[in-house]
């Protein structure tokens, strides 16, 4: 059995890639995908620590995180569709005005 810290390290790397995606991309859909990647990295850390402590609660939390991510994606993509209808673009740089 490998040390579980390898898995947690991988999860840190994936989280950093997701954070980088939120910071450097301008496409709103790709920013959403990066958020999914960060949630996924957190899930990997949860499962790794569930393995260390032999507690199933970590896996239950992963289940809840997956549910919340599904809800978040549904609402977020609905928002993106609404913004696209208004502005004909999903570039986040163009969403700088508060009014319409």
């Amino acid at each position: 059995m490998l040390p579980v810290s390898y898995y947690v390290g991988l999860s840190a790397v994936l989280f950093a890639i997701g954070a980088l995606g939120v910071l450097i991309r301008r496409n709103a859909i790709i920013i959403f995908m990066s958020i999914e990647l960060m949630l996924n990295a957190a899930n990997l850390a949860f499962v790794a620590f569930a393995r260390v402590h032999e507690a199933l609660s970590g896996q239950i939390f992963v289940f809840f995180v997956i549910t919340v991510a599904a809800a978040e994606v549904a609402v977020g993509l609905a928002l993106i569709v609404a913004i696209f209808r208004n502005k004909q673009s999903i570039d986040v740089d163009q969403m700088s005005s508060l009014k319409g």
Partner: protein, 173 residues
């Protein structure tokens, strides 16, 4: 080099490479496909860590349902490619890369030099992470959060419908 370590390194490099591919590909559809590869690799990690049920639900919900929704919206909007807009914040990109590398460096430092090695010494009990054991914990200890989750999903569903509804009577806009 044990077989376990070789498997881990192979899978980890696939995961990191597909994450970077998601980050740097110009076409949003390719990004979505890379992200699906990443999710499936992480599901294999869940299997290695003894979470069989979580691995299957990861593939079904994340790689299946959520990414199909993403691809559907990308193709619906026709927003595969975003024309290069002039950078309004030109200093943001190098700063983001420096800060991202700093985040990785300090987490890895804390993990490998401060926290000590996290080793799972004991073998897992029989049936750990199987659907029946996850189900019994979920429906006994976590019954209330489970029910709250259903309300959350209902609220998200209604919210998505209301946000995307075509408004009929605003001709003045």
């Amino acid at each position: 080099m044990t077989p376990e370590l070789i498997t881990f390194i192979l899978l980890a490099s696939i995961a990191v490479a597909s994450g970077l591919g998601m980050l740097f590909s110009r076409n949003a559809v390719y990004s979505a496909i890379y992200l699906i590869i990443n999710f499936i690799t992480v599901a294999v990690f869940y299997l290695l860590l003894g979470g069989a049920f979580i691995a299957v639900s990861q593939v079904a919900v994340y790689a299946g349902a959520i990414m199909v929704l993403f691809l559907f919206v990308i193709m619906l909007l026709g927003a595969e490619k975003l024309g290069r807009s002039g950078d309004t914040l030109p200093w943001q990109r190098p700063l983001a890369i420096i800060l991202g590398l700093g985040l990785v460096a300090e987490t890895l430092y804390i993990l490998f030099f401060q926290a000590g090695e996290l080793v799972a010494l004991k073998d897992l009990p029989e049936g750990f992470g199987s659907p029946s054991s996850v189900g019994s914990v979920l429906f006994q200890e976590y019954l209330l959060p489970f029910e709250v989750t259903s309300i959350l999903l209902l609220v998200a569903m209604i919210g998505a419908i209301i946000l995307t509804r075509q408004e009929k009577k605003n001709a003045g806009r």
